[in-house]
Amino acid sequence: MTDVAAGMRGFVSNFGPTAALAMESCVHCGRCAEACQFYVQTEDPRYTPIHKIAPFKQAYEREVGPFAFVYRLFGLAPKVTEAEPTKWQDLIYDSCNMCGRCSLICPMGIDIADLVEQARHGMCEAGLVPTDFLGVLEEKEHATGSPFGLTTAALEKMLHDIGTRHGVVMHVDEPTADIIPTVSSIDLKTYPSSMAAIAKILNHMGASWTFRTDGFDADNVSLTAGDRIGQRSVTLGVIRAAKACGAKVLLMPECGHSFTEMRWEAANQSGAALPFRVLQITELLAEGISDGRIRVNKAPQTATYHDACQLSRRGGATAAPRIILQALGVDLHELEDAGDANWCCGGGGGVALIKRAQPLRDMAFQIKQRQVEATGVATVYTSCSGCRQTLDHGGKAVGWNKTVASLLELVADNLKD
């Protein structure tokens, strides 16, 4: 059931000065469209990033803006009706990766990606999350902390099976440990070898570590859905598990949005600074290689690297993968716009979960396809399994002859004995 009034309240309820400044400052220059892959590929003005939040701006002006009483008195910003947010669903979910390229180009300094995230809160509270985006996944995530609804026993068995299959000692649910690695649901479903790679590297470092089945899956589908309750529930679960075993480092997997949540939002969710560091796996690898805790063999090859938006542009970890690739002796052929201005894979922000968004994703993939082909290399490394999966799918759809691979696994495969 939809409740548009609740949705609009949800949108404006957590508005602070920064978001209000963003709402007040837009000069309608339209430059954000030119940074958005969905507009660039379709030339459809509806995909202009700032336009995607139009009904929410209307709600802001009517409910909390400085002249809200004037807007209400003279009907300048009418109430948002049910038809409007419903119509906007495909703009706020299907055609926004929250990649932040629009935020990078905005001359007014408006973080449009952040506004879309807030708009998703409103959409969720209005009951307007696309069903195939969340649906059963959300229910399972609420119940078990995992989008795939895995129980503790199933996780434990899965981890030991992976360890046995890859010949790696797995540490599971140990009472204390310095490093607590988390994983992404995509790793669980599609790339289980990445969990073996994490274990192999942590064992190589001689670290005290353990997977915790009570705080294991950091994927947090609720975050990208806009479900604040589910998002907080998953986040607090991971924090509890890390605290319980006295962790010094919470290690985030090859996953962009989960890093954003745990690195920047988790402390706010829990109401206090975290008693441990939150590191994305590439940051740990780069640190370990730099200080000698991780020793790697050369793995000479030519390759390119796809930056995950939430790790590089939005997360400040642009240098880490390049330190790793250099240590491995990889001849890196950078993509055009590599690093901070990189184009999203097309699946970020939960767009990969939306079936009807497939044609849009395919169009976004064409940018990446052109850029990779321009480098002339055969292998694309990345540090986000969501990107990896989206690029894999896009490549299969066009019969691509490129390999998309995990940087984490490349390191694990080339550790010195």
């Binding site: 339209g30 003005p45 002249f67």
Partner: protein, 219 residues
């Protein structure tokens, strides 16, 4: 009371009052909203975050190189307009005289002919920006009455300023009165529409700069 006397007297007083009260109201309403604390460990110290905020105020004036091919016309036209407008206000002798009368501060101005030329170029850039707004599908979709009204309230002072410099279509006093009244119209509209970006741009860029410095994100 002549039109000029009205423009210089009660007209100016009312316009100033509305502009100041409106700006204070709008800024206060924004700043009084509840702040969310940022408890996540910052990549930069407090000084680093402040530096990030200050840096972004300047760096966002021009886009990254990678964006240029797609937005060159927008950037060039808006830069010409903003620079031209600043030159007219800050380097036109009558404007400097007015500032001197109010503040006691003065500086050398540019010759009248140059100011008229700059005004013409600025006006031309505004007309081009208007056509762009009306014709470009994205800008047409985004534009509201505020965009056109704001455009008009800036266009009129420049137009009347050019007419005043030549004293062509009416006498000096009438043209001066029209020029002052057009400026007063702009002052009255400033707090309520997007002209307010003249001040908000600094706050908005700085806020983003601080936030992005916290994350070490790309600026």
């Amino acid at each position: 009371m002549t039109l000029l006397e009205f423009a210089r007297g009660p007209g100016l007083q009312v316009a100033l009052l509305i502009m100041i009260a409106g700006c204070v109201w709008r800024l206060t309403a924004i700043l009084l909203l509840r702040r969310r604390p940022h408890l996540g460990a910052s990549r930069h110290s407090r000084a680093g975050r402040v530096a990030g905020g200050i840096a972004m105020v300047f760096t966002r004036s021009l886009p990254r190189r990678t964006f240029w091919p797609r937005i060159a016309s927008s950037v060039i036209l808006s830069t010409v307009f903003h620079v031209g407008f600043a030159i007219i206000i800050l380097c036109g002798a009558p404007h400097i005289l007015l500032i001197h009368q109010i503040t006691g501060i003065s500086w050398p101005g540019l010759p009248k002919g140059i100011i008229v030329l700059v005004s013409g170029v600025t006006l031309a850039s505004m007309i081009a920006l208007l056509f762009r707004r009306m014709l470009h599908p994205v800008m047409r979709l985004l534009s509201t009455i505020d965009d056109y009204l704001s455009w008009l309230t800036v266009f009129l002072p420049i137009l009347t300023g050019i007419l005043l410099s030549g004293e062509t279509i009416a006498g000096y006093e009438t043209l001066l009165a029209l020029h002052i009244l057009s400026v007063e119209l702009m002052m009255v509209w400033l707090p309520f529409g997007k002209l307010m970006h003249a001040g908000l741009v600094f706050a908005s860029r700085a806020a983003m700069g601080v936030n992005f410095a916290r994350k070490g994100a790309a600026t």
